[in-house]
Each structure stands twice: as C-alpha cells, then as structure tokens.
C-alpha cells in the first residue's frame, strides 16, 4: 500500500447475511464509485476473501451466519491484516457496543442508513486509515534511513574493525576498518569461522572458543593482545567481543570491535628502550667518571700524606668528595625513575647506625665549629635496608651542617613496638612555610644558590623512606630551626618501591 491508492477505486468487502440488504449495499457502493470485491455471508468466507484478495475496507454486519459473529470475525482479520472495518448493526445495546469497541473498528453505521451516510462513513474511514498508514510508512522509512545511516557509519568506519559473527562463530559482516586492519576483503572472509584469525597455537588452545564463552557468560570479553593480519604480520589490538541475545536470552551472535593500537604500543616500546638506554648510559657514564676520580683522589691523598700542611690539597679533596656525592645522586635518580632502586631488607639496628654516623661526622662538624649532639636512650631495630637508611640519615645530617653551620645539631632516636623515629634537629634559619611542601620534590633547594648540590638529596631520601612504608616529615619555624622526623615501621609492610 502506498499514497498512490488515494485516487484509485477503493475495494470493499461486504459481510452481510441478509441477501436483500447485501444487494442494496452493493448497488449503493457501485453508485458511489467503489469496487465491491465480494459479498459474503459469514466470517469464515470473509477471512478467506481478505487472505486472497486486496481489500481496502470491510463493511461488517455484526449479526451474521456461522460460528463467528461480525465482531469476532473483525478481531480475527485484525490479527492478520491491517484493514479498516465499519460495523453495520440494526440495534446498539451497550454490551454489543462494548464488544465492538474491543475489535477496534474505524466506525459504525446503524441500520437503516442513507447512502450519503454510508458514503461519508467510508470516506472518513479510508482517509483515517490512509493517514495512519502514512504515519506508519514514514516511521518505517525513518527507521530504514537511520539503519542505513548506522550501516553507513559502521561500513565506512576505518578506525575500528567492526564485524559480527553468528552463534557458531561464522563471520556474517565485515566493515572497511576490518578490511584495513585485518587485511581480508569481505568476500573472502564472510562465512568463514573466526578461528581463522588465530595462530595454530592459539587455535589448538581453543582461544577463539574460550573468548566466545566468556562473552556469552559475562556479556563481554575484553583484552589487549597481539593479533595476526592476513599477511601474518602482528599488530597490538584492543579487542571487545559483545554477545547479542534474543528476548529469551539465547545467544544470536557476537559483535566484535577491534582497534589497532600498534602505534601506541610501538611508542611505548620506544620509550621503554629509551629509558633502558638512558639508564645504561648513566651507569656507564657514572663508572667512567668514577675511575679517573679514584686516581685523582688517591694521588691527592698521597700528596697530602707527604705534605699535610698544603691547604690547596684539602680543598681539592673536598671537591672530589662533592663530585662523588653528585654522581651517586644522579645514579640514584635514574634508578628511582626506572623503578630500579633495589632494597635488601634485613634486621638493622638504627641506634648503632646513627652512632656510627655521628662518629664519622665528628670531624666535619669540628671543622665548622658546630656542636653535634647525639642522644641514645635505647636500642631500636627493624627490618630495613641499612645502606639506604644510612644514606637518608647522612643526607639529613649533612644538610643540617650545610644549611645551619655554627648552630648545634641534635640527633636522637625514639621508638615503640610498631615504629622507629629518627629526629635530626638544627637551630638554623628555618624553612619558610611555602617552601616546606616542595622540599621533598626533585631539584628543590632551600638555601642560597651558593650552596652546592643538585637538590636531589631530600627527594631521594623521601623515596627511600616511602619504599620502607615510612614517612619523612618536617617541622620548621623561621628563625627557630628545622626538625626532620623519619618514621619507619619496624616490620616490613607491603609497599611499592618507587
């Protein structure tokens, strides 16, 4: 049916068991210019007529012969075809009208009726039906259009491989993206089983089947993995398989979306290699620098032993020391960045460690006329990396001497069952509030630029303490000095190394 039928002769079926009335209606209809496709006297014949002929409208008497009355017949016809019905009835009791309503007729005519009444009723109903059909056609066309648009979108999408497989795993659709990414043309792949995409090893492991099972169970299967193109080359793919189910939850098929992420993967791999290369370079450079530094240091020390009063020799030696520390820092930084700062956790006595360091620093403090106060109330141990913890404490003590020379520096250790705490307290100028937060960041220096160093010491210390599951805190007031507090859990916690 379409709009063109508007001007064609409407074909009308008359269902009327009273012959004289039927004849009268038939004549009337012909006079009015309609085509009477048939006149039948019962429901069964009426259904037969609509099944075999094209009918635009039915005039249906309610009281007819046979097992079905007109209302029942209209009901049956409505289940099969969308044909408008006008009921004809001699009397209209409430019950009949109610039943008629359920059959959703387009109109009623109460017998006896005039020809003009019949004409009006037919024209109104036909018009109503046409506009209803038009709407239906329009919405169907809109659906087709939106489907076409969607198909166009799917088919032309080259970024994603989008294809569908049936419940058994056979490929039933294949878009441009699939062709581009996988390398198969639609005509060579549609109908094939999708296990064709898997390597013999994957196929023997029934990977394809496994993926569908997961998609069927959970609604979705997702992974990032290597996939193989038609030419055998590999690409790094993001894969999503979605199961498509009917209203009874029976699997109808699967939708597969694949994206080629090789470029990202290659970029990541290049970056990883660049990091490895950098670390290797750092390691070699550090070694190459240390060897001449060793010769320099030894030669200077020999010269100093021979001529102990030569001041320039001790200045040179101090600079050699500084160079060594800077190289250690650089190497540690590159290890932290690449997550390679390794720890060896074993039972370590913090008090002894601090005691030894106090001893080592004694001379340096004496030279600066700075008092070093080391207090030990108790022995505190824990499971730590002694070398790295020593590095932290050395850094804190050296900082105190560097930034607050001439003022006493106090170091003490406290502890309870769970934690050990180390305090390094100076009486220097203190650290401004706005600098306190940033002090553990990389390349951050508190003091004047005249103080040497890359500003990596506290950053490294912070990373080391965090790798132990501990914290490093700063309490400082301008003019009143600074206290660094290192808190270390005595038992090893599950922590991520930096």
């Amino acid at each position: 049916m379409n709009f063109l039928q508007k001007n064609a002769k409407a074909k009308i079926l008359v269902v009327e068991d009273e012959n004289i009335v039927a004849l009268d209606i038939e004549r009337g209809l012909k006079r009015l210019g309609y085509e009477v496709s048939a006149v039948v006297s019962n429901g069964k014949d009426a259904i037969q007529e609509v099944k075999t002929k094209h009918i635009d409208l039915i005039l249906m008497d309610i009281q007819i012969q046979g097992s079905m009355d007109g209302i029942q017949t209209a009901d049956e016809i409505r289940k099969l075809f969308n044909i408008p019905v006008i009921f004809l009835t001699a009397y209209a009791d409430e019950a009949t009208l109610h039943r008629a309503k359920i059959a959703e007729p387009y109109g009623y005519l109460l017998k006896p009726f005039e020809e003009t009444e019949l004409h009006t009723a037919i024209e109104v109903v036909l018009q109503k039906h046409r506009s209803f059909r038009n709407k239906e056609i329009l919405s169907q066309e809109a659906l087709i259009l939106s489907e076409e648009r969607f198909n166009l979108f799917v088919d032309s999408n080259k970024e994603y491989a989008l294809y569908m497989i049936d419940a058994e795993g056979h490929i039933i659709s294949w878009n441009a993206g699939a062709e581009r990414i996988k390398g198969y043309k639609p005509e060579e792949i549609i109908g094939k089983h999708f296990s064709i995409f898997y390597t013999p090893e994957e196929a023997s492991a029934e990977k394809s089947q496994h993926e569908l099972e997961i998609a069927a169970q959970r609604g979705k299967f997702e992974e990032e993995n290597w996939r193989t193109r038609k030419d055998g080359s590999k690409f790094w793919a993001s894969i999503v398989i979605t199961s498509l189910k009917d209203e009874n939850s029976k699997i109808k098929g699967y939708g597969k979306v694949i994206r080629d992420l090789s470029a990202t993967k290659i970029a990541e791999e290049n970056l990883r290699q660049a990091i490895v290369a950098r670390d290797e370079f750092m390691s070699i450079a550090s070694h190459e620098l240390r060897t001449p530094l060793t010769a320099l240091k030894l030669q200077l020390q020999i010269a100093q032993r021979i001529n102990p009063s030569e001041k320039s020799l001790s200045i040179c030696l101090k600079q050699v020391e500084t160079l060594s520390v800077l190289m250690d820092e650089l190497l540690d930084i590159s290890r932290i960045q690449s997550g390679k700062l390794n720890f060896t956790f074993k039972k370590t006595n913090l008090s002894k460690l601090v005691f030894n360091l106090c001893h080592i620093f004694e001379e340096a403090f004496k030279k600066e006329n700075t008092e070093l106060i080391c207090e030990f109330q108790q022995d505190i141990d824990g499971i730590w990396d002694s070398f790295r913890i020593e590095q932290v404490i050395t850094n804190l003590i050296a900082n105190a001497l560097k930034y607050a020379p001439g003022k006493p520096v106090k170091i003490y250790v406290q502890g309870n069952e769970d934690n050990a705490q180390l305090y390094v307290q100076d009486s220097g100028p203190g650290i401004p509030k706005e600098k306190q937060k940033k002090i553990f960041d990389r390349f951050e220096r508190v003091g004047s630029p005249s103080v040497s160093g890359l500003g990596l010491g506290l950053y490294i210390s912070h990373q080391i303490v965090e790798a132990h599951g501990g914290t490093i805190d700063l309490k400082s007031d301008l003019g009143k000095g600074s206290t660094f507090i290192v808190t270390l859990p005595r038992k090893l916690k599950e922590v991520n190394t930096p």
């Binding site: 070694h287 060793t294 010769a295 240091k297 030894l298």
Partner: protein, 137 residues
C-alpha cells in the same frame, strides 16, 4: 690468631692506565710487590705464570676481557677458584658489579679513600719488605 696472609704479589686488573700506575706506585711505595694488568685476559695470563697472589684487585668494566668474563674463565678452570682466590672487586656501584661482588671476597666502591685501599691490602697481604714508609695514618 693465625696469620693467613701471604707475601705474594698484588695482582691489579684495571684498564685506566693512570689509576693502574697510581695503584702500582703507591703499593710499591708501601713495600708490596705489584703485578699490573690492563684487562681480564692479561690477568689470566699473569695467574698462569706468577705464583699465587695475596690479592686480586679487579675492575669490572674493561675492554678485551671484562671482569665478568674473567670470573667466568676462572670458574671454567675450577669452580672453586673464584671463592678460593682473594678477589676484591674495585668498581663503581652498579647492580651488575654489586651482584658479581657477592661471589667474591670483597667489594670496594670507586672512588675510594687511600685508607680504605690500604686497609684491604693489609687484610690480605703481608709486606715482603719491612721498614717501608707507610702512608696509612
């Protein structure tokens, strides 16, 4: 306590010639006998001819034959050799060098102090010549 140190020579394996010279001159000044080699290959040859050294001071990064290859070659000769020989690795700290150091008798991180070096030497070696000036404080 029994003195297990011997009077043998000190075998130095170091590719940096200035450092090698420094080691040699200062240890000779201290009265030790020094055999200086520039790589693992030379050191293996020296071990063939010289009598058992009291100490092998081994650098790791070297051309021709590096420290790791040198240790492997020793293992091939005799699995126990790298633990029975008095080997001390003198290298910049690095994971590779540190893990190699676990197989041998000691590790000294470059750059090290004169005192640290002399202490190690004294731990392993007896002075063949007495009354030499000592640089050790």
């Amino acid at each position: 306590m029994k003195d297990t140190r011997n009077c043998g020579s000190i075998l130095i394996v170091e590719d940096n010639e200035t450092l090698l010279d420094t080691f040699q001159s200062l240890l000779e000044l201290e009265g030790y006998h020094v055999v200086a080699t520039k790589n693992g290959k030379e050191a293996l040859a020296a071990l063939e001819t010289a009598k058992r050294p009291c100490l092998i001071l081994l650098d790791m990064f070297m051309p021709i034959m590096d420290g790791w290859e040198f240790l492997e070659q020793l293992k091939l000769k005799d699995a126990d050799l790298i633990t029975s020989l008095p080997i001390v690795i003198a290298s910049a700290a690095g994971e590779k060098a540190e893990s190699a150091a676990k197989q041998v008798r000691g590790f000294i991180k470059k750059p090290f102090d004169l005192d640290a070096l002399l202490k190690i030497v004294m731990t392993f070696c007896k002075k063949p010549k007495k009354d030499t000036n000592t640089l050790l404080n």
